[in-house]
Symmetry: C2
Subunit: 108 residues, 2 copies
């Protein structure tokens, strides 16, 4: 969907809370977010963010996360990948990401 490498000034805004929640409420996508959030660089190639899934299914989930404003498509090394939009998320819903990741950790 993205013409690849969306310019910073025309990234989709982080979606309304309800839509954002929908994006995060899927187990596959929540795991994708968790992995990116755990990554020190905050970015990773697509294939590092899932397992045991058809590639096209993964693309589908990425699309939803990008449209929700949580991910930003980006080149990472030679491959396509995604970066977690920590700043934008923090501005739209302060503390939400931290609370979620904290809860996921504790859950282990």
């Amino acid at each position: 969907m993205p013409p690849w490498e969306i310019p910073s000034d025309q990234l989709p805004p982080v979606a309304a809370v309800q839509k954002l929640l929908r994006a995060l409420a899927d187990p596959v996508r929540l795991e994708m977010v968790r992995r990116l959030a755990a990554d020190p660089a905050g970015e990773a190639p697509c294939s590092d963010l899932y397992e045991g899934l058809n590639k096209s299914t993964a693309t589908h989930h990425f699309k939803i996360l990008v449209e929700a404003g949580a991910f930003r498509p980006v080149m990472v090394g030679p491959s396509r990948g995604h970066r977690l939009r920590r700043d934008a998320l923090q501005e739209a819903a302060p503390g939400l990401l931290d609370a979620l990741m904290g809860a996921l950790d504790r859950e282990n």
Copy 2:
């Protein structure tokens, strides 16, 4: 579903993050939570928490919120109602509820 007035010591535990998110990711249920969170007493009769919905649909949503551990069924005055389980939610996912409600407010 509840034998009415569940004893405190056998309330369902707050669900795993992913299930909790699913419960909150529906617009109707999110609004229910918002209203209860906005209520100073933190509780309200069922009918105060929705509008323009079939009663049985509302019951369905309440059930999901109770099973997710977000609501506790309780008598409020002469009617049945629900109380927001702030404490339990805070323990399971510290800061999550606050972050959500804050984001909803800012969304005005």
